[in-house]
Amino acid sequence: MPAVPQFLQERNRQILTKGKDAFDIVGGQPSLAGAVSQRACVYCGSRVVLYPIADALHLVHGPIGCAAYTWDIRGSLSSGPDLFRNCFSTDLREKHVVFGGQQRLFDTLCLLIDKHRPQAAFVYSTCIVGVIGDDVPAVCKQVQLLKNIPVIPVMAEGFQGSKKDGYRIACDALFQLIGADDSKTIGEFSINILGDFNLAGELWMLSEYYRRIGIHVVASITGDGRVNDIRNAHRASLNIVQCAGSMMHLAQRMNEQFGIPFRKVSFFGIEDVADALYQVATFFHNQTLIDNATLLVREELSNLLPQLDVFKNALHGTKAAIYVGGAFKAISLVKALRLIGVSTVIAGTQTGNADDYKLLKKLCDDGCILVDDSNPIELSEFVKLTGANLFIGGVKERPIAYKLGIAFCDHNHERKVALAGFQGMINFAQEVYNTVSSPVWRFTRPHLAP
């Protein structure tokens, strides 16, 4: 048998079976060159974070592809403006690569701002801009002075790293807006929600919970986001951070600069949602808020638990494979699945770090395979090995799961049903049940027996 090449031995340190392997996974390593990686780039990371700011102009400075592939792909809903759902690109051509694209960027920005009068503009710098050396910040500054709106350069050249690095750049871009305005009326007990992107209207559901408790959401960063809310975000008393992978950096910066404390929460799964509400209510040391939160959780649970029991019985024995972007989501998923009788046998992420994997390892049952930055071959091998009959992932995992003849639930950008909050838990259980119990999985054997 040939010796296993060095790089593959190293790869083995990114895969472990709980109860069998003693080491810990070190996440966040760069992908192997040549990998059929499910990961994306820096630009992608910053684009998905900033994209939901609905009344801003988002202009992609680069060849057409980077703009075309991110055109309206994230199902972030807006309650009003929809400028963000258009695709604006400087569409760089060969001559700009040779002679530079600064003038083109300037012209494009001015024209768009004149036409649409956005509240702010984000200018995304792509790989090639980093290489040809356009001074994007200078152009932004110039246009900002000329047009009198914030024009923010997002220096997200794809090659700088993975999606996660793009989140950080997006946070820094957002930070430029925060603190710029004091005009918004703020309630007595106020928070910002960081890292909910209002997929399938989830943010609206969460805001409603807080409203019922008596808490004012100043800014949602960035689901159904508005520039002026974000400019006022420094005046909230507390930041709650839902997608920690993408938004921790911003929470930390706001803490340093404005002294706003933050809490990491998850709105997914009963315990986590309840916890997210209690944490905020207790933060303000106000009995009314605590009573309101208790009442809300009690009401929602009394409605929810009997419904969940039905699913739990039906789904008992189901084995799930999870492969998602962020580790925080994976952790919530393991807990939520347990609640409906589903055990997790594979848990993987694209961007988890060492601490995330320690937490995941603690949470999972023995025999569960943990994997960082996986690929289709591995994933399908693991499914075979563990007998998983449900896959939870995103767009690239869906057809693989279906080809394997197992159920699939989308927990990424393309989900169409709200999965956050208490109602989201029911929706999730229903989704899982629908796909697991579909009759189609009975017809997947390729040959008819005579």
Partner: protein, 460 residues
Amino acid sequence: MLLRHTSDKEIERKALTINPAKTCQPIGAMYAALGIHGCLPHSHGSQGCCSYHRSALTRHFKEPVMASTSSFSEGSSVFGGSANLTAAIETIFSVYSPDIVAVHTTCLSETIGDDLTQIVSKAKEEGKIPDGKTVIFCNTPSYVGTHITGYSNQLSAFIKFFSTATPKKKNVVNLAAGWMEPSDMREIKRLAATMEARTILFPDMSDVLDCPLTGKFVMYPPGGTSLADMTATGDSKFTIGLGAYATEDACVKLENKCKVRFEVIEIPIGLKATDRFIVALSRHANLPIPDDITEERGRLVDLIADNSKYFYGKRVALFGDPDTLIPLTEFLLTLDMKPVYIVTGTPGKHFDESMKDLLNEKVPEAKFMSGERADMFRMHQWIKQEPVDLLIGNTYGKYIARDENIPFVRLGFPITDRPGHNFFPNVGYTGATNLTLKILHGLLEHKDRTCPEEKVEFQM
């Protein structure tokens, strides 16, 4: 209401593209490379490129799309991507064991000036490419041309690396497929088989991106033009290129390299383009046109005649790729419809000239545009100036269709919100029948839904 930002007043735009009717080169190369059996497309650039292309193709085909990436880092952009590609080649053959790796570049690797010829031959010398395995490559800078250019460049790379002429020519006709659906390729093979013609179709995405569910995941599905067939294209006696933008360059290169004469015709969309394809194949394969095919044609003509009253004078807007739009425009004229607005983001004279020829006399009011700023924003503005009865294009058209309340037929890439393009071809007489039915269905559904109560009829 989504597109409320679009007004009917056209503004002078020098730089800006809004809502493009195109995307960038590398995705075309990736799609074409999937049509060779056992071939893994490799994106030489940042991770995002590969991820975006795979996601975009997956959303359209609802199938696993396999491709690897050089995973560029900050260092690669400064020192060049040579080390990444060399490491990638090693990883790919150890982990994914394809027969062929088809490398395409990106804007980044092009701009930093990676020399693929040199990198790959060095990898070969160093024994990083196992015996019997091949690494091919093509240049696909994102800032030149569009996804169609990338597709065309990949096809030319197949010719450059594989096609070989032996002293003996065979009685085989090559069919170079332009950008079309796997279902279209299946239909073209069916027509050739019905005629009993010996053909080599390349690339061939059927049985790659329209696979049955078997309970197994395979990296390299059973379909795709085999390496042996691809090599043998050099021995064929003739090549028919289907779609000038995507296949002409490959046809020319094959003629130069292996002396295989060629003819480039349109993708056989619609009655007349299919007639030309059938006649060309019959002539070059030297075989009669079988009755079965003639009867298919007859049934299509019957369908058109039965419903001609619904087509007459209907104004149509269409957008997408030039190789599709040219025969589609011709077919709309066959149906007695009026193609009035046509845009493609892919630049080129052939489109403008073909449109002029097709439309100058029959629809003098028609507006058509190609290349930079020929985008959907502009088409929408035209529609606002004077409305149309039907819109044809990829899924991005649905916003315009909804805002303007016009029936919409999905055709092109990407289609992300309806299934079916994997099953029902648009080419051949069968494809033309499918298209006719889709158009009719769109028009009649719209009429039923929107006409006044007293005009709703049982018999239409």
